[in-house]
């Protein structure tokens, strides 16, 4: 690792001003950033740790009925505390990586990183969530802009994420057996005004909505509704774990399983 200093602010305001320094970078759970630093793929001069900021922690149900999760909340906390409010989301959080990763990794870090195989981007896009930062609110539909690319500006911090709670939802993940990331995974959520379907791990452009499946499921919320639908594998990730065509096929299978899980 290159050398850097570490600061641990206790408020969002202090973190924002620390991030104003040259070459400063936010550090949350470090489960992605620390390996990146070890590979010398990042060379910040200051790391601004967000884990000591109380106002970015926790899970709560707002008066509107939405579920709000602080940007610094760990996967383990979401798995435990969101279970009674939004079970599909809690289950997704409880299936990320392994217990030690879940005790450190955070929702804000996952959404800021926007790994094309990560789980939370599918939940945020599939739920039509709102990404709340220190300066603004960003709709999930505008937030994800291709793999490892988001609408965040330099130094902008995800302070919380707001999820409208659906009538039913399910997440089906085909695990890459070594890393436990999604080889391909699908998040399905049914709201009064229609169904949303978000796919991760498949496209070269990162998480995306499968609109044909949304239309089919909005008129008939059952696994059979998507039986005749298919996607092309041309723009899908092809690597040693699976070809684009294989991933395209998995999208259909995982969508059915996600609907079945939603019940």
């Amino acid at each position: 690792m290159y050398s850097f200093d570490m600061v641990r602010p206790t408020s969002v305001a202090d973190a924002v001003s620390a991030l104003g320094q040259e070459e400063a970078q936010a550090l949350s759970g470090g489960q992605t950033l620390i390996p990146t630093l070890k590979q010398r793929l990042a060379s910040p001069s200051v790391l601004v740790s967000l884990t000591g900021i109380a106002e970015m922690q926790g899970v709560c149900r707002e008066d509107s009925g939405d579920l709000a999760i602080g940007g610094g909340t760990t996967h383990a906390t979401v798995a435990a505390e969101a279970a009674s409010i939004y079970p599909a989301l809690a289950k997704l959080a409880g299936g990320i990586g392994d217990p030690a990763v879940r005790n450190r990794g955070t929702i804000g870090g996952s959404l800021a990183n926007n790994d094309p195989s990560a789980c939370y981007p599918a939940a945020a896009l599939g739920s039509g969530a709102t990404i709340v930062t220190n300066t603004r609110e960003i709709a999930a539909d505008d937030y994800f802009q291709g793999m490892f690319t988001t609408a965040l500006e330099e130094g902008e911090i995800i302070t919380s994420v707001r999820f409208p709670v659906p009538e039913a939802a399910g997440y089906a993940k085909f695990e890459q057996p070594a890393s436990r990331f999604a080889l391909t995974a699908v998040y399905v959520a049914k709201y009064a005004d229609g169904v949303r379907v978000a796919v991760t791990g498949a496209s070269e452009n990162g998480v995306f909505r499968w609109t044909e499946a949304e239309a089919a499921l909005s008129s008939n919320f059952s696994p059979d509704a998507v039986a005749g639908l298919s996607l092309s594998g041309d723009d899908m990730i092809s690597d040693l774990h699976g070809t684009g065509a294989y991933r395209a096929h998995l999208v259909g299978v995982m969508t059915k399983r996600a609907v079945a899980a939603a019940g």
Binding site: F4, R8, K38, T51, D98, P99
Partner: protein, 161 residues
């Protein structure tokens, strides 16, 4: 450099650390607690598992400066002061849950945190919890058996596979 103070296995320590000092390096090189092993250094193997404020974390993927003010426990804190093994360590010995022993500190720390959350896990739950722990020797069966035994469950019917 910044000064950090934490409790490690019940003992207060204060040291100066660099921003990029990993918890593994702090424990092994500064405190000479070499029971926390570094297998992969890439968050995959769990040999470096420790507890920070009671939760399981990979010490290779956390900075020492982040543990300022924390309660840390490592494998060295698991046995009694006179060296008597705790129930999990004893079960690993009784059920041949280790061969070379390299993965064992991380396995024991993971098992301790599992049994705290779930005192009577099923075999499937044990295997699921150990997702982040890699063992290159045992084939896992005796590790799982040892953890089930440590939880007080009868493992006499489980064959040594």
């Amino acid at each position: 450099m910044a000064e950090v103070t934490m409790k490690v296995n019940g003992k207060a320590v204060t040291k100066s650390v660099k921003g990029n000092t990993l918890m593994t390096d702090f424990l092994r090189d500064e405190l000479r607690l070499t029971g926390t092993h570094v297998g992969c250094d890439t968050s995959q193997c769990g040999a470096c598992n420790i507890h920070v404020n009671g939760s399981l974390v990979k010490a290779c993927t956390m900075f020492a400066a982040e543990a300022d003010g924390a309660e840390v426990s490592t494998i060295e804190g698991q046995s009694a002061a006179d060296g008597t093994l705790n129930v999990i360590q004893q079960a690993f010995q009784d059920h041949h849950g280790l061969q070379c022993g390299f993965c064992t500190p991380g396995m024991v720390m993971a098992a301790a945190s599992l049994l705290k959350e779930n005192p009577k896990p099923s075999e499937a739950e044990v295997r699921d919890y150990l997702e982040g722990n890699i063992c290159r020797c045992t084939g896992y069966h005796n590790i799982v058996k040892a953890i089930l035994a440590a939880s007080g469950q009868d493992v006499s019917a489980i064959a040594a596979e």
